[in-house]
Symmetry: C2
Amino acid sequence: MQKASNGTRARNRPEDQLGRKEGRTVSRQVLADHVYEELLASLMDGRLEPGTAVSIDGTARELDVSPTPVREALARLEHTGMVRRVALKGYRVAPVFTREDFADLMEARLAIEPVNARLACTRLNPHRLAELEQTVADLKSAPRGPSFAEYKDYLEADERFHQLIAQQTDNQFLVGAYAALGGQVQRFRLFGGVGITDAENAIAEHQSVLDALSGGDPEKAGAAMAAHIQKVRERAMADAPEE
Amino acid sequence: MQKASNGTRARNRPEDQLGRKEGRTVSRQVLADHVYEELLASLMDGRLEPGTAVSIDGTARELDVSPTPVREALARLEHTGMVRRVALKGYRVAPVFTREDFADLMEARLAIEPVNARLACTRLNPHRLAELEQTVADLKSAPRGPSFAEYKDYLEADERFHQLIAQQTDNQFLVGAYAALGGQVQRFRLFGGVGITDAENAIAEHQSVLDALSGGDPEKAGAAMAAHIQKVRERAMADAPEE
DNA sequence: CATGTTCAGATCCTATAGGGACGCCTCAGG
DNA sequence: CCTGAGGCGTCCCTATAGGATCTGAACATG
């Protein structure tokens, strides 16, 4: 049982161990934070499929840490809805969306996001507008192949666009409310396994939201966002398998 | 070091140990769940004041459990915004609301709750309507003394009213979004330490939301809810200390 | 007086041990 | 062949040990 000083076992990639940059501790991260991010990435990337059990001990072995930080990371993850826990039975990845779940999610987004867009519009500054423009540009240039690795960037840019708008409301509660949905939005990708089939339409809609924002018309921005979400819903419901 | 078999240390009040009723395990709860609920109650009741440090080891000693379940409970709690964590420094109770925080919270509620009311109205059934009526009755009959213990019931009924409406949307995401805010709504009580000064007005507003719901007019229900939240904001902002 | 240093106690964090529950496989008996 | 009991491994859960880190106070120095 080889172990270093303490609290730091011999690890495969010691360079990405703690939140250090050029030898100086910057952000003071602990092991549980790393496990959290690792698990979150696995969930988002689809490496962990819905329904799969996420064993505490197994994950600990895999990441070469003790079960304690894994337990803590999973406790945090549970609150995001990405994993579910049954007492004494462990965690498993939340199940796939049904059509009803998806409709509910869109209904919730329809309640929150147009408000975000409206408020963001009244508080927009040039720097943040530039970020949004960059994100839309990323969206346009992202590859859209059939496999997940190929449309990953596209999805990330999409998610970032909506998240930026939430952040620009300067309202921590709206950011929080969107974040609670945001994790789910990502999971939607697993909904029936449909790829990106509506990129052209979606990009145009994002662009029109952006135009309304930069035009400084809050009502128009809210309406554009509402229209976008409704269209996304319609297209997805048409595409999705009956199940 | 006296200890029972394992996983169950000698405890002061063995009767409230696990989720047991008449000796049979009913809900399969684990220690971390109990710690979570205990901490949540302390937070909600105001026994833990904002800014106070919540020591892991100290809480463990106090509840007579090991630090492991406490750590897990706090990890979950952090995601609700009730406590904040700084790596290697521990947890402390989230700071009091400022006027801006409060305004933001009301803005967020204004985005979500009228939608909830509208949707709840379209999906209301007699049983659930009765629950709502009972809650408004509770609100009317609750004592409203100056100390926290005296207006605790009032606040609970108030919170329950809004929560019931969220649940009646039958939309897990809207319930989740409201729940994320709900914890904060409770914390608002600490905002300046003002007691219940607007009970008569608030009760009338709740009643009119209920009337609109039972009347089956979604638009009216949404409008009544929006009006209620706006009034709450106005009254609180007028009452609240300048700071 | 102001500032930097040292040291002790509290606290955080991770690892590890070990009990109980559950599932799976084997294997004996009908 | 089918069935049920028992062994074995895995996993969850909690407790405990001990190194790492922070905090605050006493103390030294310019």
